[in-house]
Symmetry: C2
Subunit: 185 residues, 2 copies
């Protein structure tokens, strides 16, 4: 009986399962990936996001954002994002390369209707996120669906690194239907 991290199928299966858990379980490591983008000046940026959905068939994940956040300026120029999750329990680093689409306002409206009220507070801050303010609390939160956007991130590749007595690393790509291959760690 081999351990899950000894086969490519095992690694891929665990990654998919742990991403799914990130949507269902607020305390799962995949609940809060870091998301890296290239900003409008061409420089890397990275921040914590909340994993709102993961479709294991389509291999897409959803993140919600304020339309006026600075990451949107970057995505307008370079519609790609890299995601990172460190799952300490699994000794597993997951790195996802994705291409990003902003859902239409109709699609976002449907999703907005299902956003619970406390989470809505995150969309509609005045002034917009990142604006200079005089004192720390010189802002107001007024939930506003007009500033809410859904980023649907299509996974193009998945780079998995398991840290054990021996390290194992495999890369899985959409173009080869996730067959995967081992790489030197």
């Amino acid at each position: 009986m081999s351990e899950w991290f000894e086969t490519r199928e095992g690694l891929f299966g665990q990654a998919v399962q742990r991403l799914s858990r990130g949507v269902a379980d607020r305390r799962a490591p995949a609940r809060h990936p870091t998301m890296a983008t290239v900003n409008a000046a061409g420089l890397p940026e990275v921040r914590t996001v909340v994993l709102r959905a993961f479709d294991r068939e389509a291999m897409t994940l959803d993140v919600h954002t304020d339309l006026r956040s600075t990451k949107m300026d970057g995505l307008a120029v370079k519609p790609n994002a890299a995601f990172h999750v460190w799952d300490a329990g699994g000794h597993l680093q997951m790195r996802l390369a994705t291409s990003v689409a902003v859902l239409s306002s109709e699609q976002a409206d449907d999703l907005w209707a299902r956003v619970p009220d406390p989470s809505r507070q995150a969309y509609g801050v005045t002034p917009p996120p990142g604006s200079k303010i005089e004192t720390a609390l010189d802002y107001t939160k007024t939930p506003d669906p007009a500033t809410f956007a859904v980023l649907r991130c299509r996974v193009e590749s998945l780079d998995l690194l398991h840290l054990g007595t021996d390290h194992r690393r495999a890369v899985f790509e959409r173009v080869t239907d996730w067959a995967g291959h081992w790489v030197s760690p």
Copy 2:
């Protein structure tokens, strides 16, 4: 008596202290930042790194790398990196924008001499990191100072977000000597 997160000085001081702790304490959150770069194709990439040094006067941080890792190709084109630390105990997200210099081989030699043996195993894998291999363990580790590099990352700005009953966010920049200003979260 105000809480540390209520003033810009307090926020900045805590960030510096928590970064320092990341070097000294293997279990501190800042021990393992995520580091985002732009790869040679212009796409964002992100991975876990180990914080090896932090100079609070110069506001630089050091990361060690294998010279043949794919992040080096990206840094050759775009010598910038963004770092991210989520410090759960402090409810503090730290985001650092940096410009990256590769230390000379003489400087790296001095530092290599101080790298403990177990850590040396991370430099000198054959084939180079990211190379396709047939089976998971088709690689060997032979510590090799010729593949060891030190990235000295000069902090240009620090974006701090404290999540509390009210969120507080401040940005500090080198060009204004870290005076800092509040921004909308």
